[in-house]
């Protein structure tokens, strides 16, 4: 009983609950025949949202105003350049990944340089950077779709023991993120900065270093997600990141991370990512038009956050 109560005190439970209800409603259309197919598809596509969502979550944890709008453009540029570099050759898979990560590092550097040196609010700084990054993606190969190396395409689209490989990658990244948040000094630091930057500074936390690393981390995760997504969907497209702008923010907040900063939540990201995918699938399955579908998505997001009850007090 108390275990149940404490479970419902967890901020991430609501996104999981919502995801489960919607999953159930969807499989009931086929009386359960679609269970495996839908679950696998949900895990696959949630994986990409999870990866970018975790990066975004670290940034949002840094406190009010911190957000990275350059995620979509970074995904696009990393995917484009990596696939161009790999040029369908299996031998170049690793260099491709390294280049994608390098791009993430450069974008993160640019973001924080603007935020710090020009004191631009992150929302504007990262938006400006995203325009430049998007231009760079166009400039590199003008939107030509180059196929991924066959091994990589194979890896990203297949399953291990019934679990999609991309979901396994996302799970590993989530574990790493959870560990960083809860077990390391760095995790304490970002939580502290998110609660009060002046207090963090006076407590001797290297505020700039920590924020810088966090923006780097977010951009690197975005570029890794771009790399994987490009391989998964058979080539990089110039607009491939665009839907991850809203998604990356939505999964963070629906997942129970405090938008006011200081409190992050890894399991919630998974619940919210599955939820975001399943909502669209359910509404498509029920044959609802785009208008109704959008309205329902919005109302469900609002209901989840109402149930979860906004800013919670139970955090340690």
């Amino acid at each position: 009983m108390t275990a149940l109560v404490s479970l419902f005190g967890k901020p991430w439970i609501w996104s999981w609950l919502a995801a489960f209800v919607i999953w159930f409603l969807t499989i009931m259309v086929t009386l359960g025949a679609s269970t495996l197919g839908l679950s696998q598809a949900a895990l696959t596509f949630a994986a990409f949202s999870v990866i970018v969502g975790i990066g975004q979550m670290f940034v949002i944890t840094l406190g009010p105003g911190n957000i990275d709008l350059s995620v979509p453009a970074t995904m696009t540029l990393a995917g484009t350049v990596a696939l161009k570099l790999m040029n369908v050759e299996n031998g170049l898979i690793l260099p491709g990944l390294l280049v994608a990560i390098l791009i993430g590092l450069v974008v993160g550097l640019g973001n924080y340089a603007l935020i710090k040196a020009l004191r631009i609010p992150p929302i504007i700084a990262t938006l400006s950077v995203s325009f430049i990054v998007q231009s760079a993606a166009i400039w590199t190969n003008r939107g030509l779709r180059i196929k991924p190396p066959s091994m990589l395409a194979e890896f990203t689209t297949s399953n291990t023991l019934g679990v999609p490989n991309v979901a396994i990658v996302a799970l590993l990244i989530s574990l790493l993120a959870w560990f960083m948040l809860h077990k390391t000094v760095y995790g304490r630091w970002i939580s502290a900065i998110g609660q009060s930057m002046p207090a963090s500074r006076m407590a001797g936390i290297p505020v700039d270093g920590t924020r810088f690393v966090t923006y780097l981390f977010c951009a690197v995760l975005a570029s890794v997600a771009g790399y994987l997504l490009a391989c998964f969907s058979g080539g990089a497209a110039l607009n491939m990141g665009s839907e991850y702008l809203l998604t990356s923010i939505a999964v963070v907040v629906i997942g129970g991370t405090a938008v006011a900063g200081g409190d992050s939540n890894v399991p919630g990201i998974w619940g919210a990512s599955l939820f975001m995918f399943l909502v669209v699938s359910m509404l498509n399955t029920y044959g609802l038009g785009a208008g109704i579908r959008l309205i329902m998505t919005g109302l469900i997001i609002i209901s989840v956050i109402m149930l979860a009850g906004g800013r919670r007090a139970g955090m340690r």
Binding site: R188, A192, S196, P198, A199, G209, G262, R316
Partner: protein, 483 residues
């Protein structure tokens, strides 16, 4: 019974609890017109909570509030204000983004209508002039641009201002914490004038001589109850401290001026005035009128000696905040995490936090500095203001930093705790730690080996040993004013 009839406000048997904490455990308090009631008690005794009850912000779970003999059933903020209850809260509570005039508008609900700006300006200026003659504050300025002392002055003047409903009962919850001696004097004088014209005041302060000389009656609270209540002349300083339940310690005398000039130099800083330097094991005071550059120096020292990009393996300085909401506590965190945040370097290996070590150290300091909580895992905000301040002390002292910067850290700390902290400071200094201590309280400044006196952002005097005394400090603080 006719006492109740005359009482401006009478609270009877008020009980308030926040979760498991009994903040008020049946408090009965009366305030007559034309009297100043001094309210004292240790940190977390429930003073602020009773204030909230009287000003209508908090409905007691049990007990009643009555005014002029009439029991008030639906007592709330607006009912209180309509009866002329005004409050200066412990923490600053103006809107920093608004001008003083606009804040006046917010405070007085029925000031609206065409030309309210002019009227609001008149009201607040009149009150400022009355409480703090020669204050020099322009009512068009934004509150955020004011110094902390000026803000407190505005807040006090706001409480005494009259925009139709004259103030009848003014509650002052630690109003002088950021004021220097001369401003505090002006305020206390005004309180006496106000009381003399039939007004009532509830005055909360940890500076006991203020209470003793200003109040007509003193109410002592302890653990959510009123333990003693007597006319002010029935108390002396010692008796008051005793009544509060803290063992009266020996009045701290100045430290014997031991040989310091031979200790190695640990910190020096170029300032606008005289150069600043600190030696190992010294307790250095920063004195002068409030808001004359002491905090700025501390911030500059901190900024100069700590990196913001890379973690410091052996930080030279650590900081104890005075304005704990702004740069002290982490509100989402537990007491333990708030305590350990500055020493994570020592409590971790290769970036991983050693939880056991953290808990042991937390328990150790909880005992050492007597943080009043059943569990260090509770949220920091469950502590009373004074206890939060103790956590901040423990946070700084638990680091290995050889220099501790203190930004008037004793604000709102009760006498007993203060004595304990002074003892710890002396002990640490004896072991070679350096303390750089800004304080608005003369008692504390007198504990220092050496004192720098500030005036208009510059160091104007340096006092050592026997020269550290009230006369010299006040003389140096006002240096140049007379000329």
């Amino acid at each position: 019974m006719d006492e109740v009839l005359k009482a401006v406000i009478a609270v009877d048997g008020a009980k308030v609890s926040f979760g498991a904490v009994r903040a008020l455990d049946g408090v009965t308090l009366r305030v007559m017109s034309g009297e100043c009631v001094g309210l004292v008690g240790h940190n977390g005794a429930g003073k602020s909570t009773i204030v909230s009850v009287i000003n209508g912000g908090l409905t007691p779970h049990e007990g009643s509030v009555s005014s002029n003999g009439e029991r008030l059933e639906r007592y709330g903020i607006n009912a209180a204000r309509a009866r002329g209850v005004r409050c200066v809260f412990q923490e600053l509570s103006l809107c920093p983004n608004l001008s003083i005039v606009e804040n006046t508008r917010i405070m007085h609900r029925d000031l609206g209508g065409f030309g309210w700006r002019r009227r609001a300006a008149e009201i607040i200026e009149k009150s400022l002039d009355a409480v703090f003659p020669c204050h020099g504050i322009d009512s068009g300025r934004a509150v955020g641009d004011l110094s902390i002392a000026e803000r407190q002055m505005v807040e006090i003047a706001m409480a005494f201002s009259d925009a139709g409903t004259p103030p009848r009962l003014v509650i002052l919850d630690e109003p002088t914490s950021s004021l220097d001696a001369s401003l505090a004097r002006q305020m206390l004088d005004h309180v006496r004038r106000f009381v003399a014209t039939g007004g009532s005041v509830i005055f909360i302060s940890h500076i006991l001589h203020e209470i003793l000389e200003t109040s007509d009656r003193i109410v002592v609270m302890k653990d959510g109850r009123v333990v003693t209540e007597r006319p002010a002349n029935g108390f002396d300083h010692h008796g008051l401290v005793e009544a509060m339940g803290t063992v009266a310690k020996e009045e701290t005398n100045q430290r014997p001026a031991h040989e310091q000039s031979t200790a190695p130099l640990i910190l020096s800083h170029q300032t606008a005035g005289r150069p600043f330097s600190a030696r190992k094991g010294e307790i250095i005071g920063l004195a002068g009128l409030a808001g004359h550059g002491q905090t700025e120096l501390l911030l500059a020292l901190h900024a100069a000696k700590s990196g913001t990009w890379l973690p410091e393996r052996d930080p030279l300085v650590t900081f104890v905040a005075g304005d704990r909401r702004l740069n002290g506590v982490f509100e989402l965190w537990s007491i333990l995490r708030n305590f350990s945040v500055a020493s994570l370097g020592d409590l971790s290996r290769r970036g991983f936090i050693l939880t056991d070590k953290e808990e042991t150290k937390g328990a150790d300091w909880k005992r050492r500095i007597e943080i009043r909580t059943p569990d260090m895992g509770n949220r920091i905000l469950s502590l009373s203001g004074g206890n939060q301040q103790k956590v901040l002390f423990a946070r700084a002292l638990a680091t290995r930093a050889p220099v501790v910067l203190m930004d008037d850290p004793m604000r709102g700390v009760d006498v007993g705790t203060k004595q304990e902290v002074y003892a710890i400071i002396r002990e640490e200094a004896a072991h070679g730690r350096t303390f750089i201590w800004y304080s608005t309280e003369m008692d504390e400044v007198r504990l220092c080996d050496r004192v720098y006196v500030f005036r208009e952002g510059r160091i104007t005097a340096e006092l050592t040993g026997d020269a550290v005394n009230e006369t010299n400090i006040i003389a140096a603080s006002f240096e140049g004013v007379a000329a």
